[in-house]
């Protein structure tokens, strides 16, 4: 089975006067795993609901494959959805839950049982078909929800923060399974989350939303290494990228108080971004004072204060012992700098 591409064309939605989705245009590749990522309230769930047909568009068009679907009811769009709280039918058995869509569609009994059993097998739910949702663990309910979605063999699979109710260990296991499932089924998958780890690990492409607009829509690699805006830079990475206001002139970037941070040909004001793990600590560069330290085993995260008062997060290699109030010397390697326009927040390509 192959999934259909989803084309969003100036899709707009507002609740009252506030726009939630602001003229989004994008193509979600057929068979690809697209993650929609953003802070809460950025409109990501609304966008997913609009693709599913659970929410009406104010204007714009959605095409799935070659069909325009924005005016079709959910069942005619070929989409299936997995909900955050699973939304299983509490009074039905696992078999009833998985098979309900088929029942509504008029699929008759031997055929229905066969397809339910097949979907249950894919998500490894074998012996639980006659249980009720209340008798299942969180992970098992999740599997039922997924089986219910794939039983109709949808062209598009939609996930609305499906892993947020699981504990950390289960979440990791589920991530791997979802990734495998996607490869087996091949349906176009759209996955909404606010968890960047899920986005980076699962996605073929990540769509980062902020206030109803696309900040960046690219591969996880590109989002990490070439963030398109200071918002993306500050959103992705844990701890996130340091963002410092600087002024460029004479081949050097300086803080307001004149401290030279790095060499760069940029002229005029900019936002300088550098990832915590790219800052090197040594004897050349500029001074900073350690204010806080967190020992995380694999590395130590420190917060240091520059001479102008700005705080910078640094991930230090193993074996380096730093205590609050120590003075250290930073160097920002030129290759790992990101520059953003201070007015628009957009990435500045350095020549």
């Amino acid at each position: 089975m192959r999934g259909d591409a989803i084309h969003l064309d100036a899709v707009t939605k507002s609740f009252g006067a506030t726009p939630v989705i602001d003229a989004i245009t994008a193509t979600l590749g057929g068979g690809e795993f697209t993650v929609i990522l953003g802070p809460s309230g950025c409109g990501k769930s609304t966008l997913l609901n609009m693709i599913a047909g659970l929410e009406r568009l104010n204007s714009g068009k959605i095409r799935i494959g070659v069909r325009e679907v924005q005016d079709l009811p959910p069942k005619d769009r070929g989409c299936a959805m997995v909900f955050q709280n699973y939304a299983l039918y509490p009074h039905m058995t696992v078999e009833g839950n998985i098979g309900y869509a088929l029942k509504v569609a008029g699929v008759r009994q031997p055929e229905r049982s066969r397809r339910v059993a097949e979907a249950a097998r894919v998500v490894e739910l074998g012996g639980l078909l006659d249980r009720r949702p209340s008798e299942l663990s969180g992970g098992q309910r999740q599997r039922v929800a997924i089986a219910r979605a794939i039983v109709r063999e949808p062209r598009v699979l939609l996930f609305d923060e499906p892993l947020s109710n699981l504990d950390a260990k289960l979440r990791h296991g589920m991530r791997m399974e979802l990734s495998q499932l996607h490869r087996t089924i091949g349906a176009t998958t759209v996955f909404v989350t606010h968890d960047q780890v899920e986005a980076m690990t699962l996605a073929d492409k990540v769509m980062i939303l902020n206030k109803g607009r696309i900040e960046q829509f690219d591969t996880p690699h590109a989002i990490y290494y070439r963030p398109a805006s200071s918002f993306v830079a500050g959103f992705i990475g844990a701890p996130p990228m340091n963002l410092l206001p600087v002024t460029g002139g004479g081949g050097v970037l300086r803080l307001d108080d004149g401290t030279e941070l790095a060499r760069n040909p940029h002229e005029g004001p900019a936002i300088l971004g550098i990832r915590p793990e790219k800052i090197s600590i040594g004897d050349k560069g500029f001074a900073a004072r350690v204010v806080y330290r967190e020992d995380l085993g694999s590395h130590t995260a420190i917060v240091a204060r520059l001479s102008g008062g700005q705080e910078v997060q640094v991930a230090t290699p193993i074996g380096m012992h730093l205590d609050p109030a120590d003075t250290i010397t930073f160097d920002f390697p030129q290759d790992h700098l990101h520059l953003f326009d201070p007015a628009t927040g957009l990435r500045l390509e350095t020549p």
């Binding site: 609901n49 599913a52 047909g53 659970l54 009811p73 959910p74 069942k75 989409c79 299936a80 959805m81 909900f83 955050q84 709280n85 699973y86 939304a87 299983l88 039918y89 509490p90 009074h91 309900y100 869509a101 509504v104 569609a105 209340s134 219910r148 979605a149 609305d160």
Partner: protein, 302 residues
């Protein structure tokens, strides 16, 4: 946690026993009185704690000589109708209120509030006029539009529901108390449930029938019991709406037992026997359905 200590235990028990005695006293008196013959009762000069031997005789009299057994059937039908109408309308109305966004929802919900605050006793005359001729609104329309003249129907159609089961039951059922209970219950259901049903291809009706109704079974049963008993104990409206003993429910018939002749001391033993006889079915219902009722009023899906 309340600590279990001896003194608290004893105090709690005493309070319980006093409470139970307080509640049961009228029942005990009713039962004792029901065991007396009329002559014994008159000789005692009022209610005493004497135990008589005439209970079965009294019961036999009620069973064979009065209209109560037939009226018991009236009560069952009327109470079932009351409960069914109430539950059905409240369920569908709440479904619409909770699962469909509309700016009028608040107004509609406010209006349902009004029906709770407007007891039937207050509007009994208007209600009588309507039930006496339910074609009244149609007549208005016919007269107003002139359609009555054109079609030859006139504007004086008559259809009385007095002395019918529906006529007695429907006005009692016109209160929306259940809407509050169902609303709380519906709001406690997983929010994505209707969305999941929509994704599975179920339209609103299908969702209501396949998912909401089975889930709501316990609150439905509990409220049904409530309104059944509520309908059973109605007095004023059935008295007004049903003028013949054939159409009256048992509670109205019971009151008739007491007032046969004006100058006589009322047949209190017979009245008490009748009261026990009439309340037997609701008591039995509560006894059987106790757990369902308690569970249903917990207001959340299990």
């Amino acid at each position: 946690m309340i600590e279990r200590t001896r003194s608290i235990d004893i105090a709690a028990r005493i309070i319980l026993i006093v409470g139970v005695a307080f509640i049961l006293a009228p029942l005990v008196i009713a039962f004792l009185t029901a065991t007396l013959s009329y002559e014994q009762f008159v000789r005692n000069g009022g209610i005493t704690l004497q135990v008589g031997t005439h209970f079965l005789d009294n019961l036999a009299y009620i069973w064979t000589e009065t209209a109560l057994p037939a009226q018991l059937w009236n009560s069952i039908v009327i109470s079932t109708l009351v409960a069914a109408i109430k539950c059905a309308f409240a369920f569908t109305a709440t479904f619409a209120l909770v699962f469909f966004d509309n700016r009028l929802n608040r107004i509609v919900f406010g209006l349902t509030l009004v029906t709770v605050m407007l007891p039937l006793e207050l509007v009994v005359i208007t209600t009588y006029q309507i039930v006496a001729n339910i074609a009244m609104p149609l007549n208005w329309i016919l007269a107003l539009t002139g359609l009555g003249e054109i079609t030859g129907l006139g504007s004086d159609l008559r259809l009385s529901l007095l002395d019918t089961y529906v006529g007695v039951a429907a006005p009692i059922a016109c209160a929306s108390t259940s809407v509050f209970i169902y609303r709380q219950f519906f709001l406690s259901l997983p929010r994505d449930l209707p969305k999941a049903a929509a994704m599975d291809g179920a339209g609103p009706w299908r969702f209501m029938w396949d998912i909401l109704l089975p889930l709501s079974w316990t609150p439905l049963v509990a409220t049904f019991m409530f309104w059944f008993i509520g309908g059973w104990t109605q007095y004023l409206w059935p008295l007004v709406a049903a003028s013949t003993p054939d159409a009256q429910p048992a509670v109205v018939g019971l009151a008739r037992l007491a007032t046969t002749e004006q100058d006589r001391i009322p047949e209190v033993p017979m009245l008490m026997t009748g009261a026990l006889f009439v309340s037997f079915i609701p008591v039995l219902l509560i006894a059987v359905m106790q757990r369902q009722i308690v569970r249903g009023l917990n207001l959340s899906e299990k």
